[in-house]
Amino acid sequence: MVTMPADTTGSGAGMEPPELVLDNLCKSFDGHVAVDRCSLALRRGEIVALLGASGCGKSTLLNMIAGFETPDYGTISLRGKAITGIAPHKRNVAMVFQHYAMFPHMTVTDNIAYGLHARRLDKAEIRARVAEMVALLHLGGLETRFPAQLSGGQRQRVAVARALAVRPDMLLLDEAFSALDRNLREDMQLELSLLLRRLRVTTVLVTHDQREAFALADRIAIMQGGRIAQIGTPEEVYRAPKSSSVLRFLGTTNRLAGVLVAEGAGHRMRVPPALDFIAPEEIVAGSGAGPVSLDLRAEDIALSPTPTPVHPTAPGIVTLRTFLGAQERVIVFLGDAQIVVDRPAQAGVQQLAVRVGDAVYLDFDPAACRLGAAG
């Protein structure tokens, strides 16, 4: 009996039953828990990114969907059919591997046709599908080349063509862009994002690169310590991180050591030497009074020439200003703490112009902070 996990109602989930359901999956290796009670449901054509640092369990989860690992506990079903114990070659799930895993002894055509031969399709059908994939992924003219004669980008196109040629029930991408250099990676992400949406291919991708997750995914599952820490649209996980660890994982974050002090019915947050403000109850949540860590995104901080409600005394000193194109990064020393502030850098933006050596006050919305255990 498959019970629908609680956190599967992604924005816009329609009436149609989910394509892929992972229910309470657990996997450990030699006593080390790699995947811990992960549940997830994808609707048809949805692209979900498993985003996390290395060792967070995202690859193990992907390998369980592909059938390369068997879960210790929990079930996987695809199109309403339980596939938990089915051998990899009997699942209609195609994967694009990190280094593409091309067959070096086969031409582009033979690589693309591999899964079609395995399915014993007739020759005319195979030829038609290979031609279709060659056209779809702009591989014309490369059909008779061997993988060693292709560039990294071309190899990735062949890997995608090889996976899509079998018309899989779903596609898995395992760090599929990490071997490409940055410009090519962004081009390929855009192209693949458009292609997968056009073909409505249900996709799970694994990445440690948040740009990649943002570029491709409808929903992002942040994985930490084998668990799905938070799942939601890119905007949701970025704008409303549930915990300081999720916040710290996305974007550039400042971590400051402070003290939470009970004051009347609420709490006051003090970060020596200068920050001092009433902590909104929604960020205090479970943390009791005492030493805490405070996480705040670089882009959520503004600079002011005069004291602000959150920074009433003892200004910080601007020690470095770096131009980053669309943004500029200002480093402010506040006591011992080095604060990173990212601000828009376009001409005409109304903000305080700063120079190295200026005394400035920080300004931010206390609700943008996340509190965590001190340390």
């Binding site: 059938g67 990899p88 070659h89 799930v93 195609a94 591997f97 002894h105 899964g115 395995a118």
Partner: protein, 286 residues
């Protein structure tokens, strides 16, 4: 500078050349020259130019039998060595760490032991009064010793033992190109165990298998020690026959013709095998 640049490669070749020219090129040239000379009944080599020696070797049934015996033995040993090596090489290619070190050590170890010592080792095991026959008789499986030593089977045993490392090492090199993700990719695309073997493992290991068979084939074709010590007089092999022809019969010209023919056979075999590999595995030479 220009002269130094054009001379440099030759300087690098000098040590090899100093060894190969007097000890390899010149002896072969002398052998080839001898093959067109004339054997005098007194045992003196008379200069001349005749193909009579070749005609005799290629028409006399004794010499033809020696040639076919040797080709059969070389081909058979190469095929058997391939069959025996394949699973072992696969295991070795898939292993890592200390397991891999141990398996490699097992391949290299026999090479450190002189071939004569290895033949004596086999005698202890397979001679008529050896360990194997004693065990078989004691178990009541046979009443008479099974003749292995100085039979075709004994020679085959010795040849396979001697040349197995030459088969295993190139095979391992090529099988190591089949990595775990490639096998996963095959399974992921719907390939079962046999499909994966026929479409991925076998083709990728083909150049290594051919290279190994070339080494074993050429080795057996010119092996003297094993046929002489472990072989049967009823199954004459080429190298002992050439030795007999030149030293006992003092027919240096005839022996030269036999040696030149076997050299040509080896060269032809290597060339054909290379051409076949280039044709069926063009990817290997990219």
């Amino acid at each position: 500078m220009a002269t130094r640049n054009s001379l440099t490669p030759w300087l690098w070749l000098a040590p090899t050349g100093a060894l190969l020219i007097p000890f390899f090129v010149i002896p072969i040239a002398i052998t080839a020259r001898n093959s067109v000379y004339i054997d005098d009944p007194m045992g003196i080599l008379v200069p001349g130019f005749t193909f009579a020696n070749y005609a005799k070797v290629l028409s006399d049934s004794y010499y033809l039998t020696v040639f076919t015996n040797t080709l059969l033995a070389a081909g058979g040993v190469a095929l058997l060595a391939l069959a025996i090596s394949y699973p072992f090489a696969w295991l070795l290619a898939q292993s890592s760490g200390s397991g891999r070190a141990f398996l490699l050590w097992a391949v290299y170890l026999p090479i450190y032991v002189s071939v004569i010592m290895r033949v004596f080792g086999w005698m202890v095991i397979v001679s008529d009064s050896g360990m194997l026959n004693q065990a078989l008789i004691r178990l009541g499986l046979v009443s008479q010793p099974v003749h292995i030593m100085n039979e075709v089977s004994g020679m085959g045993l010795g040849l396979i033992h001697r040349y197995l490392p030459l088969m295993i090492l190139p095979l391992v090199t090529s099988l190591r190109k089949v990595d775990e993700t490639m096998l996963r990719a095959s399974a992921n695309l719907g390939g079962g165990r046999w499909f994966t073997w026929f479409r991925v493992v076998m083709p990728i290991s083909l150049p290594g298998a051919v290279a190994g068979m070339q080494l074993v084939f050429a080795g057996v074709l010119s092996d003297y020690v094993i046929p002489a010590l472990m072989g049967s007089t009823r199954f004459q092999m080429l190298a002992p026959a050439i030795f007999y022809e030149s030293s006992t019969n003092a027919s240096w010209a005839l022996a030269g013709a036999m040696a030149t023919l076997v050299l040509a056979a080896v060269a032809l075999f290597l060339l054909t095998a290379n051409l076949i590999v280039r044709r069926v595995a063009p990817w290997a030479s990219i």
